[in-house]
């Protein structure tokens, strides 16, 4: 594994919305070492989600470079980026974004359908991922039959099933009650500490951010503060 999972250099992101230019990120530099657990914090519109999307290759910077696992994302085409994302990134959404007609098992299996794995290998990986988030007994349940906390755990299983290099989580506890949020954060911590997964998490919640090894604060597109644990 490379020493640096994420490397951001001089990244600026400018949006044009309704005829107005909006500066989402302003010349940001950031290094994310392997095994790090970073919480990106800041007020709404500070550029947290934009930074997360740039790391996921979901969006492209206006200027500057983003490299993940040594791959400069700017050199990849849309199609290459999609394949790269499938292999290297696990993405967790605030509102879970599970496919409602699929069971928990089928939702977790989705990213594996894009790989060359055979059915039995996929089954093994899905069962391992669901077991890891404590939902081995809920495989045949559809999202509607699960609680919000369980849905987010299925989404985490889906994010880790391809064994990604980096997990990106956008407000993973934002739609959950305190207890479910605690469970989700506990799983993310386990993934980071026991399985050495690098995690970058956007959150408003100081309590959730407390689980991270570092907290980065963004304001008006600029990194203003970095706080380490302990």
């Amino acid at each position: 594994m490379a020493d640096l999972v994420g490397k951001i250099r001089g990244v600026t992101k400018l949006y044009t919305r309704d005829g107005f230019d909006v500066l989402a990120l302003d010349n940001v530099d950031l290094d994310i070492p392997a095994g790090d657990f970073v919480a990106l914090m800041g007020p709404s519109g500070s550029g947290k989600s934009t930074l997360l999307n740039l790391l996921a290759g979901i969006d492209r910077p206006t200027s500057g470079d983003v490299s993940v696992m040594g791959t400069p994302l700017g050199t990849l085409s849309e199609s290459q980026l999609a394949s790269w994302r499938n292999r290297h990134v696990g993405y967790i959404f605030q509102s879970f974004n599970l496919i409602p007609v699929l069971t928990a098992y089928e939702n977790v299996e989705l990213p594996l359908l894009l790989t060359n794995l055979g059915k039995s290998d996929r089954k093994r990986s899905v069962e391992t991922a669901l077991d890891l988030v404590g939902l081995a007994d809920r495989m045949d349940h559809r999202p509607r039959q699960l609680s919000g906390g369980q849905e987010q755990r299925v989404a985490i299983a889906r994010a880790i099933v391809v064994d990604p290099d980096v997990i990106l989580a956008d407000e993973p506890t934002g739609n959950l009650d305190a207890r479910s949020g605690e469970e989700v954060m506990s799983i993310l911590t386990t993934l980071n500490e026991k399985l050495t997964k690098t995690i970058v998490m956007v959150t408003h919640d100081p309590h959730a951010a407390g689980f991270a090894k570092r907290q980065l604060h963004l304001e008006k597109g600029v990194l203003v503060e970095s706080v380490g644990k302990g």
Binding site: N53, A56, I58, D59, E78, S79, A82, S83, W84, R85, N86, R87, Y91, F93, S95, N97, I99, P100, V101, L102, E106, L110, P111, L113, L114, R158
Partner: protein, 379 residues
């Protein structure tokens, strides 16, 4: 194949919509097959015509008849194998609704004139031997229950007379909803205006090469007489009837076009709703690494499955029903009512094409959204 489960589950996501879409597709395709079959039957006369047969009729109109004496003259034209009178009787059987084609012909030559008509030798012999003898097509016997030995009385409003016939045979092949009887018997009881006259003259040429020469020779022979002739091949003769329905054919084509277009709109509207509802999921799938093309194919696959289901029901149902039930028994003047295999295949393929066309734009559009745009559409 890996995504088949996802496609199936997406199709069943809104069962009512799927059911309505497939049903409207099936019913529309059934209707298209029905109309295409009607058009096929309208053309059957010309398509099944023999290349050796010609028909000579009055040069002015089919409404006028020809002198019987023409038969002997036409017979002498080089290349002519045989000639037979062919007279439309227009008789009514018991009630006016019981109307079917009846022709007075040369009973001895009918078998050679229309070799496609199949009947046993004893039946042919009995028919020829009895002045009042008649033969009926298999379908006609099914419709009216005609049986050998049965006496049939027909009343003709054209000749203002009644004739009694005895059925001596049931033939199959050719026009099976027609009755044939002796010209001599018909001529004997004909009123003065129709005595020794024939409606048309059926001619069989010795070879296909003789056909154009016979046509020209016959018409030239009677050119400056009180009854000039127009001699044409059986195909051309049948086509002249079909030409009279030219407007009907255009109308049917128009209906088929309109149904196809409305089908496209129904499918497109259904698929557009499907795509729109799932725009957010497209964002999710893209975030998981799904390619643009894969996402577009997921939607196209859905439309294909819907179209295949609708086409299987509509086209398959039409093939099954029209082959199991002979609707020509209930539709006057159609000797058959069977959809052409090529029409079934064309309509099936058309349905698949409509399915793809209905989703192409929506699928292309949604698959080209960025992940952020797609996710935003939801919320």
């Amino acid at each position: 194949m890996r995504f088949l489960n996802l496609i199936f589950k997406n199709i069943l996501r809104n069962k009512r919509r799927t059911l309505l879409t497939v049903s409207s597709l099936a019913v529309s395709l059934f209707l298209i097959i029905t109309l295409a079959t009607v058009m096929r039957e309208l053309r059957r006369g010309s398509e099944s015509a023999s290349p050796l047969r010609l028909v000579a009729r009055h040069g002015v109109s089919l409404m006028f008849d020809l002198p019987e004496s023409y038969l002997a003259k036409v017979e002498k034209v080089p290349g002519v194998d045989l000639v037979t009178p062919y007279c439309w009787y227009g008789g009514i059987y018991i009630e006016e609704k019981n109307f079917f084609a009846q022709f007075a012909v040369d009973q001895k030559l009918l078998r050679r004139y229309q070799p496609e008509m199949k009947m046993t030798d004893p039946e042919w012999d009995a028919f020829i031997a009895d002045r009042q003898g008649a033969i009926v097509g298999h379908k006609l016997s099914e419709i009216y229950g005609f049986k050998p030995g049965q006496r049939i009385t027909l009343r003709s409003p054209i000749y203002n007379n009644e004739l009694e016939f005895i059925v001596h045979g049931i033939y199959s092949g050719g026009e099976e909803k027609t009755m044939f009887f002796h010209y001599d018997y018909f001529n004997e009881s004909a009123p003065d205006f129709a005595k020794d006259r024939v409606g048309t003259i059926g001619i069989v040429a010795k070879s296909v090469d003789d056909v154009p020469r016979i046509s020209q020779a016959v018409d030239a022979m009677f050119l400056n007489t009180e009854a000039p002739t127009k001699t044409e091949t059986e195909r051309e003769f049948a086509q002249s009837f079909e030409a009279m329905m030219g407007g009907v054919k255009q109308f049917l084509y128009g209906i088929i076009g309109a149904i196809t277009f409305s089908l496209l709109l129904v499918m497109a509207s259904s698929m557009a709703m499907t795509v729109r509802e799932r725009t957010a999921e497209v964002g999710t799938l893209k975030a998981l690494g799904f390619q643009r093309g894969t996402i577009a194919w997921l939607f196209v696959g859905e439309a294909l499955l819907l179209a295949t289901a609708g086409a299987s029901l509509g086209v398959g149902g039409a093939a099954l029903i029209y082959n199991a039930v002979d609707f020509s028994l209930y539709v006057p003047f159609f000797s058959q009512f069977a959809p052409a295999p090529e029409a079934l295949a064309a309509v099936f393929a058309g349905a698949i094409a409509v399915g793809i066309a209905s989703v192409a734009y929506s699928a292309w559009r949604v698959s080209n959204l960025t992940i952020a745009e797609a996710l935003r559409r939801v919320e």
